[in-house]
Assembly symmetry: C2
Homo-oligomer: 349 residues x 2
């Protein structure tokens, strides 16, 4: 893969904030600088918008899950819901593409047809997530659900490490410190009176948790690599191919896991208004993740979903009368400082 290209592309994007600041401070003396400054401003705006969208969507997703849990147990089959999410994402990508074709005509960058060379890597992230989801069933033999929530924070570190290794992008020392703080802060915010149980996790549990974190991190970083490999390629085309394979894998999952239920009770058995809401939300946040991969990166995604986690807890106080712990406040402080340091570390580079 053209990692070099990805890396260089990214350098331009990474310095967006600084470029804008410089452009504002200096007198713009020639047309080229003006165009550059405009371009970086547009890029920065787009990056902020998709990040904001991801944060809100991820947060509301978690709230919908709490809501649906409060309403009772899942009565629909999860595999059909996942399939519907992928289908909806495909449909949304196609609609967006249709509008672009109407406006700009079909070009090399936005045509749906593809080469084997381009498409061959697209099933990989979906396959990785599938393996991760399979492992998820087995890890509960060693860890309880709240413990698993704690261990999932390994994802943050694994994403950072794989981002560095696979995409060969550098974080400054301050940014690494911020990343460690993000992990510690998120974990702290999730602490409850039973969290210490997680320290008694048997060795197999730790190994599986780390394996799952690596799989999840690798899937995320690999998706970024695929999407950034062809920077000029329209994101909706890239999304379409990602999601088509997602549909395929989820169709297999239905056949393996829920074939009988679907046959006896019907595909949409147990779907409620909230189920439909969750599917829409899930689809939109999936698209937001792709957008963040295209216009920002996995690091931004991790910060965004961490903030979403905190936001969910705060909103839950108002919606469900949840109780915020001292640990939550401390975790929030640490995460906030981490976000500040991530950007301060960038500026000082």
């Amino acid at each position: 893969m053209e990692y070099r290209k990805i890396k260089d592309e990214d350098k331009v994007r990474d310095s967006d904030v600084e470029s804008v600041a410089v452009a504002v401070n200096n007198t713009v003396s020639d047309g080229e600088t003006k165009v550059d400054s405009h371009r970086t401003q547009v890029q920065w705006k787009r990056k902020s918008m998709v990040t904001f969208a991801l944060t809100i969507l991820t947060s509301s997703q978690a709230i919908l899950i709490v809501w649906s849990k409060r309403a009772g147990k899942y009565e629909y089959s999860v595999t059909t819901a996942n399939f519907m999410v992928e289908t909806l994402k495909c449909a949304i990508s196609l609609v967006a593409l249709g509008r672009i074709w109407n406006k700009e005509g079909v070009t090399d960058d936005n045509r749906l047809t593809t080469t084997l060379d381009e498409v061959i890597v697209y099933p990989i992230p979906a396959a990785l997530y599938l393996v991760k989801n399979l492992l998820q069933y087995y890890i509960f033999a060693y860890v309880d659900a709240p413990g698993y929530q704690i261990l999932k924070n390994f994802n943050i570190i694994s994403t950072g490490v794989l981002y560095r290794i696979i995409l060969k992008k550098r974080l400054s020392e301050i940014q690494w410190a911020a990343f460690i703080l993000l992990t510690a802060g998120c974990t702290t915010a999730q602490l409850n009176s039973n969290s210490d149980h997680v320290l008694q996790t048997p060795f197999q549990g730790w190994v599986m948790a780390i394996a799952m974190a690596l799989l999840s991190g690798f899937a995320g970083v690999y998706t970024e690599a695929i999407i950034k490999k062809r920077p000029s390629r329209n994101i909706n085309v890239q999304n379409f191919w990602l999601y088509v394979f997602g549909m395929g894998f989820n169709a297999v999952a239905i056949l393996v896991q829920d074939f009988d239920a679907v046959m006896n009770k019907g595909f949409f058995h147990g779907y409620s208004f909230i189920t439909v809401l969750m599917i829409f939300n899930h689809a939109l946040s999936g698209i937001a993740v792709s957008m963040v991969m295209k216009y920002a990166d996995n690091i931004v995604k991790v910060y965004s979903t961490s903030v979403a986690m905190l936001l969910t807890a705060v909103v839950s106080v108002f919606l469900f009368g949840f109780h915020l712990s001292l640990a939550f406040f401390l975790g929030t402080i640490v995460v906030s400082v981490a976000i500040y340091l991530h950007s301060a570390g960038k500026m000082q580079r």
Copy 2:
């Protein structure tokens, strides 16, 4: 007070680490640079040594307290013990001074006699600590002991803020971030299943906790101001005058609080081997605090005592079979990152 002088003095000291690094990297070309580099190296060594001593002494002090609590209730009167600590510190300062007089003779800097102008500020820190200790009795009407431990972490922030305001010394933005993290990390490390109670602290409790933090921070910063006001003055003379007033205030405390007990049971009633150990340890750590104020600053003191708190917990695992919580590990990670950022923030200034 000659704050300007203090500030300039400090600038020299603050850049010790960098100076040493520069001196090592560059070829030392002339005698003056050589002397400079040697001086900064000596200063840096002294700073590290007193900081290390303070950390170990503070940590062992906490362990002795746990040990004595395990052994049973305090049977001696605390006021007489405090008086003995001050007396011992005075005695140690005098012995140290005697040796210096023998070696170097009596000079303007190491003579014990003083002017009213010099000595008039020395009772102030002792008086501030007295007020703080009085408040301590009343705060327990609003907060329980573990809650008070949590609220005491306000001391960290108040010390930083007063250090900035009174001593007019600057911390970089990264160092401020590190200071917030130090507070959050120490609090996280001390979390237990009952910590959330502290959030129900009534308003008066919060006000008193903040007042106590300000008093404690002010006393610390004021002590540094006194000691640094006369940089060439021998630290043992400065200590002697600080501790003489400490003795005075504690003598009053004995009269007010424990006069009857001392009259009926005797001054040293209930003293055990561990009581004597605690008095020695307390005296030595008091002297270490003064040394840190002289050769480093309040910020170093706060980091040092925070590390001591973590060290105590780890040592307690081995000594008393204590159990380390997940919160402790997370807090330790955050404190470690804070320490790194404090020094990284300094280097980038």
